[in-house]
């Protein structure tokens, strides 16, 4: 095989993005568990994962710089490099938003205002979207990417339902404003995470087909 080092670097790039994806999934998952159960211990453990994300992100950036400066990738390889850069930025935002969710569990005292049923469903859909968008990246599957992005509508609908419910609760009883505001922030984070998953899916379609699409 010619250009062995180059092919190794490309493989390393893909692996690093998938590792970043894996840890993003864990952070989202644990943050949701922490906030639903108000598990302070789990929330703190989750926050400790952030430096690992930063190291991975830095490694991806170095690999991309080296590839562009030293190897001049073209065609499908160039699309991999461009989409890896974009996907990394989206995953980093997903991690940031998940960390915000974990921090909410440290702020709410006592119990939740109400059982977080729809919020849990939103979190599950967002987690599923993240898992599938990463799978679509790994297998370069544009159909899976498009199907995954379509789930964003469900997240948006639930966001609206919970949002209205929380606003009504605050209108009826101003004492709940503090707790309800935290929950509004939580659903907003989940809605944004789903949007970033759609961005990942757009990058996957571009990577696989060179087609630039808008999926959200």
């Amino acid at each position: 095989m010619v250009r062995e080092k180059y092919l190794q670097q490309l493989a390393l790039l893909k692996e690093s993005v998938l590792s970043l994806g894996e840890i993003s999934e864990k952070i989202l998952h644990d943050s949701m568990d922490a906030v639903i159960a108000l598990d302070v211990e789990l929330a703190r453990e989750t926050l400790e994962l952030e430096p690992k994300v930063e190291r991975l992100e830095e490694q991806i950036e170095v690999t991309i710089n080296d590839l562009l400066a030293l190897q001049q990738p073209l065609a499908g390889d160039l699309r991999l490099v461009v989409s890896a850069l974009k996907i990394t930025a989206d995953l980093k935002r997903i991690v940031g938003l998940s960390i915000n969710i974990a921090k909410i569990s440290l702020k709410i005292e006592g119990e939740h205002l109400k059982p977080l049923i729809d919020t849990r469903i939103m979190g599950d859909i967002a987690a599923e979207m993240l898992a599938n968008s990463l799978k679509a990246f790994e297998t370069q599957d544009p159909d899976l990417a498009k199907g995954t992005a379509a789930r964003d509508d469900d997240v948006d609908k639930l966001f609206y339902v919970v949002w209205v419910e929380l606003i009504e609760m605050m209108a009826k009883d101003p004492r709940v404003v503090s707790k309800a505001t935290h929950l509004l922030f939580l659903i907003r984070c989940l809605e944004r995470i789903a949007d970033h998953c759609c961005n990942v899916c757009e990058s996957v379609v571009y990577l696989s087909t060179a087609e630039r699409v808008k999926l959200n």
Partner: protein
């Protein structure tokens, strides 16, 4: 793909079903291509793929090779250049060529450029203007205008190559063929030749063979990929380098074989 290109630009060189043999060995197979006027077309492919053989068909340089047999049609501005009654010397006046290694004649800079117009009967007075114009067009005038009677071989490699381009332009061709024009040059000289090629397409149709993929990507409007005597893919340069149709094109430009 060729059809799409044709819609936006006028075809100057049309090749239909071109086959070429060196003795028993077939070097080009069923080549069909339409090269648009006032554009830069790059031909890429591994050594021995037929790209140099192909451009040498465009001004019948292969006629000089023993046992070389050409079949098919090559038309320039609608005229079959392999047809009866074609004056090959006149053809090469219209289709100039610049080679891999600069090959100035062992005479002065001035005489190198004046050589072509002289044998084509341009008068002495007019030749002076032709020489200056050619040297200016080749972006060489400012560097050598004070030593135009010096031997051409005293110039640097990059200057010699631009002199050869000026010499080609002095006989006012419509098409200039470049066969690896920068492979013997340093990066600065290469950049000058590349700038020159991009500027020249305003007045000429340019076909360039290159092994330098980045060079093809930088300077050409259209790119053709040759492999084992076949034209595998021909299209807009951007499309070829961002999203080629054929897997073998992608494998070649990304260095997976070659």
């Amino acid at each position: 793909m060729t059809e799409a290109i044709q819609n936006v630009a006028k075809t100057q060189i049309e090749v239909k079903d071109l086959n070429l043999w060196y003795g028993e060995k077939q070097a080009l197979m069923n080549i069909d291509i339409q090269i648009p006027k006032n554009s830069v077309t790059a031909l890429i492919g591994p050594s021995g793929c037929g790209k140099s053989t192909f451009i040498r068909c465009l001004n019948r340089m292969n006629d000089l090779i023993k046992n070389c047999r050409v079949e098919g049609k090559v038309s320039i501005e609608g005229r079959d250049i392999y047809g009866a009654g074609v004056d090959v010397v006149d053809l090469r006046k219209h289709v100039g060529m610049v080679f891999q290694k600069p090959n100035p004649f062992p005479m002065s800079i001035y005489d190198n450029i004046a050589y072509g117009p002289r044998i084509h009967g341009v008068n002495k007075k007019a030749i002076e203007g032709v020489v200056e114009h050619a040297l200016r067009s080749a972006a060489l005038w400012d560097e050598i205008s004070d030593r135009i009677q010096s031997p051409a071989l005293s110039l640097s490699g990059g200057q010699q190559q631009r002199l050869c381009i000026a010499r080609t332009m002095a006989v006012k061709p419509e098409i200039i063929l470049f066969d690896e024009p920068c492979s013997a040059l340093d990066p600065i000289s290469t950049a000058k030749i590349e700038d020159l090629i991009m500027a020249l397409k305003k007045d000429y149709t340019i076909v360039i063979v290159t092994h330098n993929m980045q060079q093809a990507a930088r300077i050409s409007d259209y790119t053709g990929f040759f492999l084992m005597g076949e034209l595998i893919e021909f299209g807009n340069t951007r499309q070829i380098f961002e999203n080629p149709d054929k897997k073998s094109t992608e494998d070649y430009i990304t260095g997976r074989f070659g």
